[in-house]
């Protein structure tokens, strides 16, 4: 009984030390949360005849605002903020209104990991709405990705072209064009509406995503070129060869020498054992 208890204790001790040694090693190897847990959001005011507003971003489970943008006027687009994936709500209040007052407008948005969203106040003041746009982050290799948000009230329908590529032949006020891949480089964005025309030079590098925002300006139409996202225009193929093996533990090598040694040991022990048995039998006979 005592022997068994000792054995059990010994086993416990062994198991415990294995845990103590093993767990920190595994934990330190890759601490750090995966990047997969965050997404991005940005906020915009794209309603021409709506006065400036305060915009609030709330995490779904927190009544305290995570981000507050004060005095956001028409044409403003915030930078992207990196936030944990999950449910959020966006509220708009008149500039200077109490943070606890009833918002003029609010909407909910679910942010998925590694996805980006634009929440924009769009439309005329009389029909103002908060629109959630899904922003693309995937560029075709060697190309740029572009889209247009039409936020001009003066010109309700606009034709938008970049270089000779027509992005939309008749984009209505408060509408958003689909994304389109274009050749990288410098180009001219041309807006045509009724008798008016406006141009702007842009550069879209390979691997970038752009949003062109059509705005009413004092002199007519203007386009704001937003660089939404950027990556490697032509991504390298496969993994990266960043090591020559000088510090590598040598590979397992061949198991044959070890197996041979085990065989030889077995032979030795077996021969010795047989001799031992025979000599004991001899001793008994004598």
């Amino acid at each position: 009984m005592k022997f068994r208890r000792t054995t059990r204790r010994l086993l416990m001790l062994l198991a415990t030390s294995a845990l103590l040694l093993g767990i920190p090693a595994a934990a330190t190897a890759f601490a750090g949360s995966a990047t997969s847990g965050t997404g991005w959001i940005r906020l915009a005011h794209l309603s021409p005849n709506t006065p400036a507003v305060d915009v609030y971003l709330y995490s779904f489970d927190d009544s305290k605002a995570m981000i507050v943008l004060h005095h956001v006027a028409y044409g403003t687009v915030s930078p992207y903020e990196s936030v944990r994936a999950g449910d959020y709500s966006v509220a708009m209040r008149a500039t200077g209104a109490s943070p606890t007052s009833q918002p003029v407008l609010s909407t909910s948005v679910t942010i998925a990991a590694r996805h980006a969203y634009t929440v924009a106040g769009m439309g005329p003041e009389s029909g103002l709405r908060l629109q959630v746009l899904d922003d693309d982050l995937t560029t075709p290799s060697g190309q740029a990705l572009v889209r247009v948000i039409q936020a001009s009230l003066k010109q309700q329908v606009v034709k938008v072209a970049v270089g000779s590529t027509v992005l939309s032949s008749s984009l209505k006020f408060a509408a958003v064009s689909p994304y389109q891949a274009v050749s990288p480089g410098a180009a001219t964005v041309t807006l045509t509406a009724g008798g008016t025309k406006a141009t702007s030079s842009v550069t879209c590098a390979a691997g970038t995503v752009h949003t062109f925002v059509v705005l009413d300006s004092a002199s007519g139409l203007e386009v704001v070129n937003l660089e939404d996202a950027s990556g490697s225009g032509k991504p390298p193929l496969g993994g990266v060869s960043t090591g020559f093996g000088g510090t590598a533990g040598h590979g397992p090598g061949s198991p044959v020498p070890w197996l041979l040694a085990i065989g030889a040991g077995s032979l030795l022990a077996l021969t010795g054992g047989l001799r031992l048995r025979r000599s004991r039998q001899l001793a008994i006979r004598i």
Binding site: I67, L137, A229, G272
Partner: protein, 226 residues
């Protein structure tokens, strides 16, 4: 023959010892992966560089953010050096492109102590995922590369990049991931992102003697701190 008995007993003992030794040897060599690489965080640490830190974006934890209308941000200067205080990395940066086979160029074998920036990726501090690579080791004699201790980084650790105009960008590690090279996540590493990020890449895992390459990569993900 009683004199034979000690010899026979000795043979049994010796045989058993050989079996035990060889079995242990066999098992140990089956599990000799570089995952057992010794770690010593903080040893040989270098101080954080000094200089103006240029933050393009407000911290997401700050509750109040003021913004203005934004067009394409001003281009940032090219990176010239990299400092990672915790693991003692302080290196100038080479410029790297694509090799003829489409893979990422790496610093030459005689420059394993220097890291390089992939010129096909955004500049550190500009919007997007900027790529910096460095070797884990040299070809022989236990020569350690500039990123030998990269795997010791974890979330929250700081990384600094100095640019040619003297400005300094500070990044904070968000994740450290290991990938088999034949399952390298091209989109996650090189794909477009909407904020200024940095990825540091080196090798890890088992070294394949047949091909002369490691089988895995370590990727450190970091985002700019303002």
């Amino acid at each position: 023959m009683p004199t034979r008995r000690p010899v026979a007993a000795l043979a049994v003992a010796a045989g058993l010892v050989v079996i035990a030794g060889a079995t242990t040897g066999l098992l140990l060599t089956r599990h000799s992966t570089p995952a057992m690489r010794p770690v010593a965080v903080g040893v040989g640490a270098v101080p954080a560089p000094t200089g103006p830190i240029v933050g393009a974006f407000p911290s997401p934890t700050a509750p109040i953010v003021a913004v203005s209308q934004r067009a394409v941000p001003k281009p940032v200067a090219a990176p010239v050096s990299l400092t990672i205080p915790l693991i003692g990395v302080q290196t100038n940066l080479l410029t790297l492109g694509l090799a003829s086979d489409g893979t990422l160029q790496v610093p030459p074998p005689n420059m394993v102590s220097v890291a390089g920036w992939f010129t096909g990726s955004p500049r550190p501090g500009a919007i997007g995922s900027s790529i910096i690579v460095g070797h884990i080791d040299g070809g022989g004699g236990n020569v350690k590369g500039v990123f030998f201790r990269l795997r010791q980084l974890s979330a929250g650790d700081k990384i600094y990049v100095k640019r040619s105009d003297g400005t300094l960008v500070e990044f904070r590690v968000t994740a450290v991931q290991q990938y088999a090279k034949d399952h390298f996540p091209t989109q996650a590493v090189y794909g477009a992102v909407p904020d200024p990020e940095l990825r540091l890449i080196t090798c890890d895992g088992t070294f394949d003697l047949a091909t002369g390459h490691y089988l895995s990569n370590i990727v450190v993900y970091a985002t700019e701190v303002s």
